[in-house]
């Protein structure tokens, strides 16, 4: 059952009544893809995923609430429970303490060793639930990894681009240098902002992500590459 409500003058907020986490993410990935395909034709401005909802913003001059509402309903009924298409990206992470600024604290918080944190982080599949906070910043969740972590009490004024952070039950990656309060466990040498691509961002909602550990030498190697034709479907040099 979809719950569609008015949100401001030209948007609708869509929720699944009684959501169970994973089910709603996957169905929304699908619904978003279907809506995105009709964007031009249906005068939609944007389809923005939240953790458990979708916001659909439309062009008031070209369409209206009733038309958008029935489009959403129709697309949902056509394909509600089908799974959306997701890519799986393999993301190299250097967990050395030079980059994993809070790794030791995170290990202490979970009463285990840094190695075990890395193992857990690398052994589960994450999914991009939404993108927000900063341009291109993915919010990742995982069903398997139990790495629920408190935010830093005092946020850092500077977190370097590529840093992998944990906060609550989510994992995030900083696309640009920024202040931030997530606990940092490592860094990827991959560029999340990709000026030559359209859209110019590495991640999109619905992507699946598998992290793998690399050493400092490999980090430098990848960081030095042009990365334009980087193959995200496999590990570096695989």
């Amino acid at each position: 059952m979809l719950d569609i409500r008015v949100y401001g003058e030209n948007a609708l907020l869509v929720r699944i009544a009684n959501p169970d986490g994973n089910h709603s993410v996957q169905s929304f990935v699908n619904l978003k893809q279907k809506l995105d395909n009709q964007k031009e034709h249906a005068a939609l401005l944007s389809v923005v995923p939240g953790r458990y909802d979708l916001t659909i913003i439309y062009d008031q001059e070209r369409t209206n609430e009733t038309a958008v509402r029935s489009l959403i309903q129709k697309l949902w009924e056509e394909s509600g429970l089908q799974k959306g298409n997701s890519r799986t990206l393999k993301i190299p992470v250097c967990y050395e303490l030079k980059y994993g600024l809070d790794l030791i604290h995170v290990a202490e918080e979970h009463a285990c060793t840094p190695k075990e944190i890395i193992k857990t982080h690398c052994s589960s599949i994450y999914q991009v639930e939404l993108i927000g906070f900063l341009p291109g910043f993915p919010y990742l969740s995982s069903l398997e990894a139990n790495l629920s972590t408190q935010r830093r009490e005092v946020p850092r004024t500077y977190v370097p681009a590529g840093s992998i952070g944990l906060a609550d039950e989510m994992c995030g990656i900083y696309p640009i240098d920024s202040p931030g309060g997530w606990k940092i466990i490592g860094r990827t040498p991959l560029k999340l902002i990709r000026e030559k691509d359209n859209p110019p961002f590495l991640f999109r909602a619905g992507d699946r992500v598998q992290f793998y550990a690399i050493d400092e030498r490999t980090f430098d190697l990848i960081e030095g590459e042009r990365q334009n034709d980087y193959d995200f479907s496999k590990k570096h040099h695989e």
Partner: protein
């Protein structure tokens, strides 16, 4: 096509080049941006015969000093910044020519907060990491002039200076009690000094229980409330998702209106109708 160079001799408080809100990458976390007061920006462009969504300068509180190399036609709208071209005072809402060597000086806003300068040239957005950034003293904007045709007759205009801010119920409107809704609309609220292109901030005495509310899209005009009673009215450069209850959403008219208010000024909130009540909520009541 003839060239135009605009030198930033003095930067003012916050001078930037903006356009119309752009939703292309909102689902990738990019704020929609655009001129804070869309009514004024559209007007400045229209006065010199440009399409309403053309990029133009936005000035906040104190405007810059600009030196021109090349010839172009311009118009000012929005707040009154006591503009002068060389030594002559300029009227808002009236086209004027600039030539090589001309110096346009803007002062401090007396009526309103943000002024707009439309120029018959192709201006690129001033951005860093996809978000508006301020132009600094010494920067030079190199561009080319576009042809325009001035419209006949005077465009009548007045800046909207009402302090009534109208809002619709937001998705989490029900996190407020009836008394709190009344309180929110009863008094006037003071705009805090930290207000900017991202958000307008107000301190209230409305306390709500802390909730862990899952992140969801925020639109320009969203009114979020924090447990300590701080109201954030999110503006054009706000981040695209957030986790505080969204108790209301400003109308587009009220976003433009608020954009012309400065820190220290007071405003009054007024909820419009019950449009945002969901069908399921209505059903529950029956």
């Amino acid at each position: 096509m003839s060239k135009l160079r605009i030198h930033i001799e003095k930067s003012g408080i916050y001078t930037t080049v903006v356009g119309t809100p752009n939703y292309d990458y909102m689902d990738y976390g990019v704020p929609v941006g655009g001129a804070m007061d869309q009514v004024s920006s559209a007007l400045a462009n229209r006065i010199i015969g440009l399409s309403e969504d053309t990029n133009l300068f936005e000035f906040t509180l104190i405007g810059p000093t600009l030196r021109f190399e090349g010839t172009a036609i311009c118009a000012l709208s929005g707040s009154e910044m006591n503009a002068r071209l060389n030594d002559s005072p300029l009227k808002r809402f009236t086209p004027f020519w600039v030539q090589t060597g001309d110096i346009l000086t803007l002062g401090k806003s007396s009526k309103g907060f943000r002024a707009y300068l439309a120029v018959s040239a192709k201006l690129s957005l001033t951005q860093k990491n996809f978000i508006a950034r301020r132009l600094d003293k010494g920067e030079i904007i190199a561009t080319s002039v576009v042809k325009t045709s001035l419209q006949d007759g005077v465009i009548e205009s007045k800046l909207d200076l009402s302090n009534e801010i109208e809002l619709l119920r937001g998705p989490e409107f029900t996190s407020l009690t009836d008394n709190q809704i009344e309180d929110l609309q009863k008094g006037s609220l003071v705009i805090a000094p930290t207000s900017n292109r991202m958000s307008y901030v107000f301190q209230t005495e409305i306390l709500t229980p802390p909730t862990s509310f899952p992140s969801s899209a925020i639109l320009p005009g969203c009114v979020q409330i924090t447990p300590s009673g701080q109201l954030n009215v999110l503006m054009r450069d706000a981040q695209t998702t957030g986790g505080y209850p969204r108790i209301g959403v400003l109308t587009e008219t009220s976003i433009n209106r608020l954009a012309q208010k400065r820190p220290g000024e007071t405003i009054q909130f007024r909820f419009l109708d019950e449009k945002a009540v969901t069908s399921s909520e209505a059903a529950e009541r029956e």
